[in-house]
Symmetry: C2
Subunit: 491 residues, 2 copies
């Protein structure tokens, strides 16, 4: 009888047991000690409150499958917050049977440094995996990423270039106009009430998503993102066209060459984060770009631009400025570092000694990409497994729908077509991602392991490059090669 059934059936009164409390007579471990126990070879440990648990013998029987592995070497609490089914006496008591020790309580670090520009950051979901803390950048575990079409706000990957600003809503105004001229100023109520409220489900993806695969080839500069620096949400707000018209500007007729967006997040020298679009692209997208004040039906979280961000569907995240307070036409591209000296593509023979950022176009619309999220790299499949169910996302910039996702379990010798979850968007304006799933037979002579591969095709029949080597670049952006995940198949 599996432990799952044990959990369901052997109901024990928990009233007398203090699960996770300090227990005398057991050894004490630090968080670092626990973090060393993540595999069967080293034993698999987790913590709950003050308790340390060795769950090695339990993982293969976890009803939620390999998702339990997200928590290994650390606390299970954030995951139990996500999956509330765990929060009952029976499960707590079973957990306590795996108790092996106590954990040293972490030192309280509530004393804030008043001079720390990162002293006013929002609270974040502890399941997020940070790639940097100041500024805060983090992605969700990829196993969680594709569970839902709309990524929950607190799991949405976070890409901050600077400290999160504290916005005073009484004085907040969104300015709209032409560089160097008087601008229209809207408070948040005017933005919400004076324009039709439009909705779109749209992906935000960091240019550096999947950078970690490039780093393996040769070092690059940038946050070491895995494959979850991408998320999909429903956004609501006014269209760019409507707010520009209110400011007396007709995008189709203006002679300016760029439209600039600026945020309230500022660098040490006081200049704001900014980005721009070529005017031609703004014209194509004028009714699709949202001056957004809602995410998944409620206001934006601070990490995602509260009170207002621009959503530019099909375009790299770096241009979708958060904490937006300024939109203006200009004859110059944004002078911001991240527009001019970053987020550009180069070939693999360009490195820091010979790079000239002026020779490349700022990344705007992104190329087709796909990724396997489940199973995760290194997953041990069920013993004797003959097939594997593979899940992931696919997406392309420029509104290009995903036509097909191909999956291989033999490293690309044979391919199956995945089932695609409909986006309910049109072929040429697909801003949301396409989640997909395929159950693929494992090769007969797998020798205990298999390489799972995925690749997608968009409506313009663009496909992904086979290998990382040919697209390697010094900033590790645009990492959209076929995605490969290795799994183990115990005999």
């Amino acid at each position: 009888m599996g432990l799952y059934w044990k959990l369901q059936q052997e109901v024990v009164s928990a009233a007398t047991i203090e699960v996770g409390e300090q227990k005398k007579g057991l050894p004490t471990y630090t968080a670092e000690d626990v973090a060393k126990h993540k595999t069967k070879d080293t034993k698999i440990w987790v913590t709950y409150k003050c308790g340390v648990y060795d769950i090695t013998d339990y993982v293969s029987q976890h009803p939620g499958g390999s998702k339990i592995m997200m928590a290994v070497g650390g606390s299970i609490e954030p995951y139990w917050d996500l999956y509330a089914v765990h929060k009952n006496t029976e499960i707590l008591e079973i957990l306590e049977t795996f108790r092996i020790g106590n954990i040293v309580p972490p030192k309280k670090t509530d004393i804030k440094d008043k001079n720390d520009p990162y002293g006013n950051e929002p609270k974040r979901n502890p399941v997020l995996i940070p790639s940097s803390l100041k500024p805060y950048n983090a992605e969700p575990p990829s196993l969680l990423l594709t569970e839902q079409f709309l990524t929950p706000k607190d799991l949405f990957f976070v890409r901050n270039h600077l400290p999160v600003p504290v916005v005073d809503m009484k004085s907040y105004r969104l300015e709209i106009g032409i560089e160097g001229k008087n601008k229209l100023k809207l408070n948040i109520d005017e933005l919400k009430k004076n324009f039709p409220k439009m909705y779109t489900a749209s992906v935000v993806q960091c240019a550096g998503n999947r950078r970690s695969e490039m780093t393996k080839i040769k070092a690059v500069k940038g946050l070491n993102w895995n494959n979850a620096a991408i998320s999909n949400a429903s956004w609501a707000g006014a269209t760019l066209n409507d707010v520009m018209n209110k400011a007396g500007i007709d995008l189709d007729k203006c002679s300016h060459k760029h439209i600039v967006f600026e945020g309230m997040d500022k660098g040490p020298e006081g200049s704001p984060y900014g980005a721009s679009l070529p005017i031609e692209l703004a014209r194509q997208l004028k009714n699709d770009i949202l001056i957004a004040y809602e995410m998944n039906g409620t206001e934006l979280p601070r990490d995602h631009g509260y009170p207002v961000r621009v959503i530019i569907p099909g375009v790299v995240g770096a241009r979708q400025v958060k904490w937006l307070n300024n939109i203006y036409l200009s004859n110059e591209e944004s002078t911001c570092h991240w527009q001019r000296k970053d987020y550009k593509g180069f070939n693999a023979s360009v490195d820091w000694h010979n790079v000239d950022f002026e020779k490349s176009e700022a990344i705007q619309q992104l190329p087709v990409i796909s990724s396997i999220c489940d199973p995760a790299e290194g997953t041990e499949l069920e013993s004797g497994a003959e097939e594997v169910t593979v899940k992931g996302y696919a997406w392309s910039g420029g509104g290009r729908a995903i036509l097909r996702v191909d999956i291989s379990a033999d490293g690309g010798k044979t391919w199956m077509t995945a089932d695609l979850q409909p986006t309910n968007q049109s072929l040429y304006k697909t801003w949301a991602w396409t989640l997909w799933e395929a159950t693929v037979p494992l090769p007969a002579n797998h020798g205990g392991k298999a390489e799972l591969t995925c690749k997608a095709v968009d409506v313009s029949y663009n496909c992904q490059p086979d290998n990382v080597e040919g697209i390697w670049n010094l900033r590790g952006v645009l990492s959209n090669a076929w995605h490969r995940v290795n799994v183990k198949i115990p005999s």
Copy 2:
């Protein structure tokens, strides 16, 4: 002293020499005999009028470089028509010094079969390389393809699915409207005079361009195109939007799902060639789609759709219907074979036993592609060459400009960025191709050969797949892997 200078300087009176005439006392060869002599190993033969010439010792001194190799094993006359510099007495006389024989005159085949549906085909430039004669399909030698930004009409690749129709201009009408309803009928003068004349330089590319590279991996069905089933011309005509408006139709408001184009070329059963676009794509392109009656400044040639074809920039050639006489809105995709049962993509594990054409979307906008046109495959570079100048084209569908072309002379280990010829079109409406050139150092230890490789990046940072294997498909379409050309470097 090279033969070129000999040609220039040793002026001989040619009045008394009958170059290319029958000459007694020399052996007689058939065209098939001549065609066997194309390399230094077999000797290099050409013909001129009735003469057969062994030019093996001359080719390395040809002022036009390796272009002379286009003519080997056949007649030089079509090339001399292209390069009129050859048509002078001095060059004819030098040619005669290489005379080795007479050629059997080909049998006259002027007797037309009145029942042959292909009995009324236009005259074609003999330098075109046919991949089929009935219907006629042919591409120019790739060495000639990128000599000019606008491909000359008689070198523009020809893709006919059916016999070329003979059009009676007195009765010709272009019909425009809604399926099953009365339509607006325009004669050619009305089309020319009643609408603003718009111009665009735009590529037409066959979905099967570069199919021959797929055939090498595994047999596919389709014409065995090399890399020149693509050309670029300047087109002029009325916009789709203007003619639809004249017919009382507002594309943005109509509820129909497709717009169908039909030609006057008909299959044996009497149904016309046709194609359609999803209405959403027609809306995006309504001011860019031309109902074209001019090519490179004068009327369309018969092979390219005289009197009218539709030019749909950024879209596969198969939808750009020639001999156009019918445009209508429909709720159905075109029922034509080539819309529903052909020109679709599948993964490499789909073959004729398991293909379901209904499961794939008709190809419309094409993916990014590039190709090396000069040097041609197998070219022998100058002895001891330390670098090579490489030329070719790059293009992407959907109006996506080419941002970068990378060239490698060491099979992809190191890359150089090619110089791009400006298109004078905008980043998001680049319908023309981008011609490029790079001079690349050859690897030090080349061992007498080198693999030249090119790959392009478009404005959406889409790139080409590394290898043909991953994109192989049963119809051999969408063959846009990195292009590789092997050259020899004599020591």
